[in-house]
């Protein structure tokens, strides 16, 4: 049976549940990058992101039949967020020490009011996103990386739509402020 890449995520997952591994491969290709970036920018380091990434897909594979309705995209990112939170709870102390290091790096290597190259801007964006409060960072990444709507983000994070809107506004305001030279 040929699988069209134009099939919806939900249909591809259904096909996979029925035993078509090609459907899963298409689904995987659709989300491999965004999911990985989301995890890279919310985890402390790449090794953690790799672990979380594999764990997310493992849960998707095992719990595929539990997905009944709604958006597959929102479901996958909710799984990723839950895994990341579990990891955060286990390694709280480690994260605190890391964030201190990041602050030091920013204060030393990236002085304000300086023009940066593209490469440097990308690195700074990553660091500034990492500096955001966790709730704002989460909302921002779910919007930019996963492409979820305000309602979907609100559902994933389990807060109101207006709260998400507010978090996004604060996050963008802060990033625009610190990345003014790059924009």
């Amino acid at each position: 049976m040929s699988i069209s890449s134009e099939y919806s995520d939900e249909r591809l997952l259904e096909q996979y549940c029925q035993g078509d591994v090609n459907a899963f491969e298409i689904l995987y290709q659709r989300y491999r990058k965004s999911l990985y970036i989301y995890l890279c920018r919310t985890c402390d380091n790449q090794a953690q992101a790799d672990d979380c990434y594999q764990e997310v897909w493992s849960r998707v594979i095992k719990a595929k039949t539990q997905f009944k309705q709604g958006s597959f995209k929102a479901w996958v990112f909710q799984i990723a967020r839950n895994i990341k939170i579990d990891l955060f709870r286990k390694q709280t102390l480690h994260i605190v020490s890391d964030s201190e290091q990041v602050e030091e790096v920013i204060s030393e290597d990236y002085p304000q009011e300086q023009h940066y190259s593209n490469r440097e801007c990308h690195d700074r964006l990553r660091l500034e996103i990492a500096q955001l409060p966790a709730e704002q960072r989460d909302a921002l990444l779910l919007k930019e990386e996963a492409g979820l709507t305000l309602e979907q983000i609100a559902k994933v994070v389990s807060v109101g739509r207006e709260t998400i809107k507010s978090r996004l506004r604060y996050a963008l305001k802060q990033l625009k402020k610190v990345l003014k030279d790059c924009l």
Partner: protein
């Protein structure tokens, strides 16, 4: 530029910057691991079906074999019953001669002969009531012979038994065979002696004996009774006993 235009410009610029900064990608090893897991999970998912199918096939096979065994057993029982309840029949004169001649010399030969010939014999057998006296007598003999022969003719499934048991069983069977053949030979001798005495259905026969008693032909009555007991050993003789007591 108004504040709104300013915000829109920065939003667009930020989105552009964000998109350009998206350079991280999972390694090929990660991709491989995930895809392998997905494929392995599918195989796991499929294998329980195979297991269920295999189990179902074994169960069906088991049930069908059991049913077949039951059917065979029932057929065997039915055949046994038919052998005993069917219309009476007799062996032809030649068959009896053939059988009795072989009895003392080679016991197994008799059995073989009986097994080989039942169809021909049964075809030539009239009903008991209409049969001549001598033939009825032979028929009774034949019924008894069937009793001993039937288990050998019909197939039976037996559990495997140890070698020693098989030897013992064989010895036992040989003894039983000898005993049965001896009894058979005796019966035939008795039959030859009593050929002159008529053989009737038991009720009719008893009535005849009663009449003899009533007519005070005691010796004849006792002779008939003796013969009756030989032919119908298990037939109840209560009614006759009263008359015999009275006569005595």
């Amino acid at each position: 530029m108004t504040d709104q235009q300013n915000d829109a410009y920065y939003d667009k610029a930020f989105s552009l910057l964000y998109q350009k900064s998206r350079q991280e990608e999972p390694s090929q090893a990660l991709d491989r691991a995930v895809l392998q897991q997905a494929s392995a999970q599918l195989k796991k998912q499929q294998s329980p079906w195979l297991r269920h199918i295999a189990t179902a096939a074994i169960m069906i096979l088991g049930v069908s074999v059991t049913l077949q065994l039951v059917t065979i057993e029932e057929a065997t029982k039915q055949r046994d019953n038919e052998a005993f309840t069917s219309e009476p029949s007799i062996l032809s004169e030649d068959a009896i001669t053939h059988v009795t001649a072989d009895v003392p010399a080679e016991p197994s030969a008799k059995r073989r002969l009986i097994i080989e010939q039942p169809k021909e014999v049964s075809e030539a057998i009239p009903t008991l009531n209409s049969a001549p006296v001598l033939e009825q007598d032979r028929h009774l003999d034949r019924l008894e012979r069937y009793d001993t022969v039937a288990p050998v003719v019909l197939p039976k499934l037996e559990k495997p038994v140890p070698q020693q048991r098989i030897k013992n069983k064989a010895q036992k069977e040989a003894k039983q065979e000898q005993k049965a053949e001896f009894q058979e030979a005796n019966k035939i001798v008795i039959q030859k002696k009593t050929r002159s005495i008529s053989v009737l259905p038991p009720a009719q026969w008893l009535e005849k004996i009663k009449t003899l008693y009533r007519q005070n032909k005691i010796s004849d009555a006792q002779k008939e009774l003796k013969h009756f007991k030989q032919v119908w050993p298990d037939y109840p003789l209560d009614a006759l006993k009263n008359i015999a007591d009275r006569v005595d």
